[in-house]
Symmetry: C2
Subunit: 247 residues, 2 copies
Amino acid sequence: MNSPVPPIHPDHRLPLYHRVRDTLSAEIAAHRWRPEEPVPTEAELAKTHGVSIGTVRKAIDSLVADGVLERFQGRGTFVRRPDFQSSFFRFFRFVDAAGVARVPTSRILKREVAAMPAGVAAAFKLPAGSRAVRFSRLRLIDERPLVLEDIWLPHERFKALLEIDPREFGDLLYPLYEQYCGVLVASAQETLSAEAVGARQAKLLELAAGAPVIVIDRVALTADRQPVEWRQSRGPASQFRYQVEIR
Amino acid sequence: MNSPVPPIHPDHRLPLYHRVRDTLSAEIAAHRWRPEEPVPTEAELAKTHGVSIGTVRKAIDSLVADGVLERFQGRGTFVRRPDFQSSFFRFFRFVDAAGVARVPTSRILKREVAAMPAGVAAAFKLPAGSRAVRFSRLRLIDERPLVLEDIWLPHERFKALLEIDPREFGDLLYPLYEQYCGVLVASAQETLSAEAVGARQAKLLELAAGAPVIVIDRVALTADRQPVEWRQSRGPASQFRYQVEIR
DNA sequence: TAGTGGTCTAGACCACTCC
DNA sequence: GAGTGGTCTAGACCACTAA
């Protein structure tokens, strides 16, 4: 990966380390470095940005704090590929009899081009009715349905997903976004709520009518915080558990 | 506040900035500085700890990142008093017709000395059956019950609360902990789950039998992460909403 | 105007990884 | 041994607050 630096002109009133950070996160979002290869060394970045090493360190510090980069002493600094698989288990405690976390399998129920409803379009800052790639997906463990998902993606950036043989879809979508669309998800904003399950969803989740479900709305973001995916997941409240640190 | 520095000897194998951080957080937990007065300046701390200003800054940086300290340019650095009031609204969206967040009132249902059950004692790393001060509390808005709380405190540190006239109890407990027990809560670890409401609780919360409720288990911590309060709250799932950033 | 934290520099030396 | 990030120093100057 050696494309030229994109023309980024962060606000010159910002502190130097902040400008370095903005430039770096935009380059990361533009997929300039893959997670397997190190980004330039601190000394190189200091030289190319015309600042001291300490200033570069401060910029990298904040990207590390935000989970965008990872540092390894002696090896280098790398773009982080977050493990959203484990985030699944932060919400729902699906463990087998031995207490081991199981990877859920995925069943794509639907793949289509559709017009975004207003709520979804707003998350992308697009007009309502914008074209989207939409998936409906069921996640199961031992053939028992556990989470029902409704996923919306902006059509332009993700239309490549319409061409893939559905059998190539594995159990995870984010690796496909990276491989086919050059989009690396860096973080996500989630909102949890609870409701009584609807009739259609109750059937798919094999729940009694009106059973309580946890609803998770997710907006997935790139390193420079552009929204790239909107997702709504529903799972039985009885399985739900989540930990937070509040300050 | 000018008690002598407590005898703290952090592991000398740790980096300097880490040792400075540990010493500071222990002093903060010991209530050496009140939130209204600044802690010593960076220059002073550098002098007393025998390190450079940059090292002190790094220690303070991490305490600021953890929400223990707050910095104000030109004024100084202060012990932070977290606003747990607003944390209440992070979970339950109780707003009036105009969309304004309302402060719930509190009704103490019970105050007693009791033996800790095993689960609570474990959070304090005390033996099961240890003496505790226990509160049962209902939080209401417009006289409508919204959250039912069960609160456990180690007896030794909190026995002063048994002497206060119950009418002096306001709508918040943490200011009392600070005022009467010299304990400043710096952070809290919470676990959210969902269940069908029990009969006794349904009655107090004025819910239908079996209605879904969100259960929040909280362990409150001091600046040096000693557990000081265990609390379990229940509220109707229909009112629940929570936002997280995941990485 | 004095004193605070905020930014930035230009080094030194250490611990670790990889060749 | 060469090269990486990790720690630490000793300054400089700026922006802001309070008296």
